[in-house]
């Protein structure tokens, strides 16, 4: 695994130099298994945070038994610090629909949905217009595929693919047991492929430039480029496309305000990296993150930061399973108690052990990932929790 220095690239937001629908047109005349292989070879992983190999998901989707397969674009972007999907859908929506069209082609799906978070409802008129254009193109290309917008209504947990599907079915967004996975049985029991907005764009780009070109970017583990949403104590907040595999210290040099104390990588569900570890950590290692990167300088109280995160989790948990529903409340109340001296400092260790339980016993990714920021903040900024 080779480390790379920070390198900005420009694959995703390039203006339509080649029409995305031309890419679609050229791709859907190739044999489907060839296209799937291309995506597999590229090493592209899901860009929503879970990092599942995209080619593999599409391969399973193609092999799934059943008619009326469904493609869902997960635009529920709710991870704090993430706003890249908003920019994609505003600036280059055609690349998204192109990616969805290619996915529909290789899997045989005929229906697609864009699950757009409720907070982005203002985008609907423009997106409806784009979809009109898309459907015209599909007609011209003889591709039997149409996309409908489905609006969310304010629930972070609906970013989890099975919770999203439950929401679309008119129910509470409570994640399902897996297996069965959506590819086997998803929306109304049909084989369903759910991918993040950026994933569809990247897949479309892979089909355009080829997997060999795409593989040149990134590292062995982390192929390609990724959008990072950067905010917090930075003079240049915004969305940046960066090759994967860079060191945090390079990142901090480029985007920090020269007083950076900690970097939250992967949103509140990710890890808080302290200054002493900037040299060691490689952003994106072990699985892509959704790209949410929040920067904190030395004026920030990490207690306030963690408190804010836990309040968020306690509210946004679907409430179904015990470790998450009760665990989040325990963590929140627990750090308050330590801060206000109604519990001794050692109670933090009890809470650390609780997060281990939450990590292995929670039903879905929300409960499982609370441990990440809790452990990284409490371990690295313990004094701030107590005094």
């Amino acid at each position: 695994m080779a480390e790379k220095t920070l390198k900005r690239v420009d694959v995703i937001f390039t203006p339509y130099s080649v029409s995305p629908y031309k890419i679609l047109a050229e791709t859907i005349v190739k044999p489907t298994n060839e296209v799937i292989q291309e995506v597999l070879d590229s090493g592209l992983r899901g860009r929503g945070g879970a990092g599942f190999p995209t080619g593999l998901k599409w391969k399973f989707g193609a092999a799934a038994q059943g008619d009326n397969k469904v493609i869902i674009c997960n635009a529920d972007e709710g991870e704090p610090g993430t706003f890249k999907d908003r920019e994609i859908l505003t600036k280059v929506p055609r690349k998204v629909f192109s990616g969805m069209g290619i996915c529909a082609y290789v899997t045989g799906a005929t229906k697609g949905y864009l699950y757009l978070r409720g907070e982005y409802r203002y985008m609907i008129p423009a997106l409806e217009k784009e979809l009109e254009l898309f459907h015209e193109n599909c007609k011209k290309l003889n591709l039997n595929f149409s996309i409908e917008i489905f609006s969310g209504s304010g629930a972070y947990v609906c970013g989890e693919e099975t919770a999203l599907i439950e929401s679309m079915e008119g129910k509470r967004g409570e994640p399902r047991n897996k297996p069965p996975f959506p590819v086997q049985s998803g929306y109304k029991g049909k084989p369903t492929i759910v991918n993040n907005v950026e994933t569809f764009v990247s897949a479309s780009m892979v089909c355009r430039i080829g997997s060999a070109e795409y593989k040149k970017l990134g590292t062995d583990d982390q192929r390609g480029s990724k959008l990072f949403s950067i905010s917090g104590d930075t003079p240049v907040p915004g969305v940046y496309e960066i090759e994967l595999g860079m060191k945090i210290s390079d990142f901090v040099e480029e985007f920090g305000d020269s007083d950076t104390k900690a970097v939250q990588v992967g949103g509140v569900a990710g890890y808080c990296i302290p200054r002493k570890d900037f040299d060691k950590m490689v952003v994106g290692i072990g699985g892509t993150t959704g790209g949410s990167t929040m920067v904190f300088n030395s004026t920030r109280s990490m207690y306030n930061v963690l408190h804010n995160y836990l309040h968020f989790f306690a509210e946004e948990s679907c409430g179904q399973c015990t470790p998450c529903r009760v665990g989040c409340q325990q963590l929140l109340k627990g750090i308050e108690a330590v801060k206000h001296k109604t519990k001794p400092a050692e109670y933090l260790d009890q809470l650390m052990k609780l997060t281990e339980t939450m990590k292995v016993a929670s039903k879905c990714g929300l409960g499982q990932s609370v441990a990440n920021s809790f452990a990284s903040i409490v371990t690295n900024f313990r004094e701030e929790m107590i005094y």
């Binding site: 610090g81 908003r86 978070r117 609006s151 917090g232 804010n308």
Partner: protein, 155 residues
Amino acid sequence: MADIQLLVKELSAKHGKERSSLMPILQGVVSKERYLSSEAMTEVARELDISAAEVYGTATFYSFLDTNPRGKYVIRVCRTIVCDMHGKQDVIKTIENILKIKVGETTMDKKFSLLETNCIGWCNEGPAMLINDEVFTKLTVDKAREIIQDFIRNK
């Protein structure tokens, strides 16, 4: 037929009467009425032939499907960490002072409701808020004041 019945029938004509039609129908009611009243939810139950409890249970899951009465303009100020760091508390105080209500409350003339909400995806331009579906970013105390006063005067 009562107004709410008409509205629900319109929405079911557009979105269907299946369980999977529930979310768009509830969203449609909230768009018009700003919240889901007991009557509205009962009508939806009738239209979809599901129990009122099922409608209620689904609606209360989603932060934007309010079952408490709200004003014509629902202000949702983001409270998540980056907006918090960049002054959302001052923005809220300002709005509270202008409208003479606290977070969670609605003005007497039922024109404004003030709420806090979780990350709305504008962290690079925070503090940010929604007023119904409209987004307002890069809020300062002054900008917030301007926006609210504009709403008071012109809308």
